[in-house]
Symmetry: C2
Subunit: 457 residues, 2 copies
Amino acid sequence: MIRKRDIKALTKIVGVENIYSDKAHRLAYSYDATRTRYEPDLVIFPRDESDISAILSYCNQNGISVTPRGAGSGFTGGSLPAEGGIVLAMEKHMNRILEIDTENMVAVVQPAVINMELQRAVEEVGLFYPPDPASEEYSTIGGNVSENAGGMRAAKYGITKDYVMALRAVRANGDIIQAGKRTIKDVAGYNIAGILTASEGTLAILSEITLKLIPKPKYKRSYMGIFPNVESAMSAVFKSLAKGANPVAMEFLDALVIEALIEKLGVNLPKDAGGILIGDVDGNVPEEIEFQLETLRGSFFENGAVEFRVAEGDEESKELWFARRNASQSITIYGNKKLNEDISVPRSRLPEALKMIYEIGDRYNFKIPCFGHAGDGNIHVNVMIDISQIESGHRAIEEIFKGVVEMGGTLSGEHGIGTSKAPFMDIAFSEEELRLFRDIKRAFDPNNILNPSKMGF
Amino acid sequence: MIRKRDIKALTKIVGVENIYSDKAHRLAYSYDATRTRYEPDLVIFPRDESDISAILSYCNQNGISVTPRGAGSGFTGGSLPAEGGIVLAMEKHMNRILEIDTENMVAVVQPAVINMELQRAVEEVGLFYPPDPASEEYSTIGGNVSENAGGMRAAKYGITKDYVMALRAVRANGDIIQAGKRTIKDVAGYNIAGILTASEGTLAILSEITLKLIPKPKYKRSYMGIFPNVESAMSAVFKSLAKGANPVAMEFLDALVIEALIEKLGVNLPKDAGGILIGDVDGNVPEEIEFQLETLRGSFFENGAVEFRVAEGDEESKELWFARRNASQSITIYGNKKLNEDISVPRSRLPEALKMIYEIGDRYNFKIPCFGHAGDGNIHVNVMIDISQIESGHRAIEEIFKGVVEMGGTLSGEHGIGTSKAPFMDIAFSEEELRLFRDIKRAFDPNNILNPSKMGF
């Protein structure tokens, strides 16, 4: 519990205008996209890294929990103060792009910079920041790094961790760490930036992030492949990639999603389509675009596609993408509550993973529309239930997780573990692996003040 | 010290044919490419992961040091048993490619597989493993991962860590860990594979490595740019890349190296050349090759190049590359001992980094020929001395390190820290950062049995 003298000491650090314990603030910082609520005792807006250091140093000595927060848009509770204490809200003061270094193709940002704000700023100078989580319009880079956010462009360009060059971070004891450098190669010391990425704020609090940028490709075109069933679409995914196709994105919609899009939004898709792949290809020269489209077209038809569409111009591209962009909202026709998971399997296991998911759905009598980032093996699985079915919904999800792990897959492709998936950690990890996680957590944060109750800690 | 009963216990684990304490074995496993020698007490050839687990479990309980060893080709002493104990030599039994999964584009290998053996095997099925350290013909994948080896193709394709998807490893206490999966995305649990990569065998012993592969590009051509001085060549590096050039490699030779190549090997290069850039470009279509070459040509001439050569066919390509491949042996004309360092700076700082290095050389009256991977900011700095000058040679290197770190660079781009660079760790890292490294080391290996005396532990 926070005592009066804690508030006094913390107020001395950040100033009275940056610390709040009133009900309105505690409510406003109690939620995220999971819709679960945990009220913090205090909301603090640190002004800079040295504020964070002083706050953590005090909290570490006094056993006060600290949960960092960007936009609160996470899907697994990463930014929720599950044990109360302090929410360290970065949005107010630590939201600036500090530098765009065009010579080295690097951006340096504070943790609360919005992903899309960074994308726009670097594109203005001809550069490109590929990671594009669906939350790109509001999620923060600090949150993206903490959860190792993915996105549609991961098929070609990888995920957030592939762009983290360096981090500044504050340990639980207040120590300020510079991890990594603005160099492509660096093998001096342990890869601290590597382990902080995806650690969900449980090991240290990020204060500054240095990201790799790349030149913006000159040409881009959108494609859509229409398949008679899920199996043929899923086979086309890994077979076209193994043939040398390297699309920016390769997004999947299943038959249930297609049906919902037609029914709810009147989207122009064949009623009997069993699976669709949508994406972009890009390149420096038009011939590379042609090469990519031909490789996809050939491989899609070999795997049973009934149609291959290519967008002429931006308007047609938007039309093709309309289906994918509205997948999530269209499937509400199947139930008033959505249990949304994001499994990931080796791409060649996608056909059997989908088969298993539908079988589980049939057994429980749930519709489970699936869509997402097939090009990297990451599928968003939506168990649609009525709120009264929540318990059997969770049982269905547990079965899905078990099957996915047996196929060499993972509990989460891009959403993280947080509080939502913490109960499933022992499905995915052995006793020895969980022990190592605990040992690492203890090394960074011996008093367990940093974002407690996440990832099972 | 190893006691008789230790040998007895360890023999029981691996069998008498896999454990040696005779002088010949102790000598044979006492060296690496640093030419420093440390004799182990025992050489053990583990047959598999469970041997490693049993050995470590015993050594952990009995305080016996264990140093893993692949080919012993490292430049910083990573595989040297600096405190005696056991050398765990992987070469005899743990040297197999276990799987090449063409559907998911993944290879699974044991740690002692030779880098080039893997490259050849995957190219046979149309795939590509890009990391190509200069030691590729004899260094092992286990060593490459432990030191996070780079190579020439890092400019476009990144370094070893960019290809590590998953690791199996054994902790000091014998716990066997599976870190990572055969999936592109995975955000469940801490990034253990990330921190084990480049940890030089100080945190765990690798037993199996899963690597990402990519489709082999269809077209490739070699280029050479000739510049009047080092500054113009170094400016051309970062300016051409920022313009969208994305060469596979962009290797640099300085004036001293060029002089040596002409004098010692009669290489066909202009005598007054002050700097040379050599590399390849690749792509799926010929037009991409043209785009890359035109971008380089334009940018090189803008930055003062006097000549731009493009190889027609394999023979000419080999000729262009002959200069780069023989750089290392040619510079022996400048001294009988070479202090070989591999600094790395942000690419835009390359011109001033080189300037500083030559100034230090002038001050000490040493020739310091430089060459290497300019495309990723990583330069091999060769302080050529007579053996009697070893002390001032080391002082010169310390000055170089200090200057490089001030420019935002690192002690090592690809060779690692090991024993050679351990004395310089406090130039590169703060007290807080070193404390974090120690805390992590202790979490993984509380009794400090794994490769002690490396990285300053």
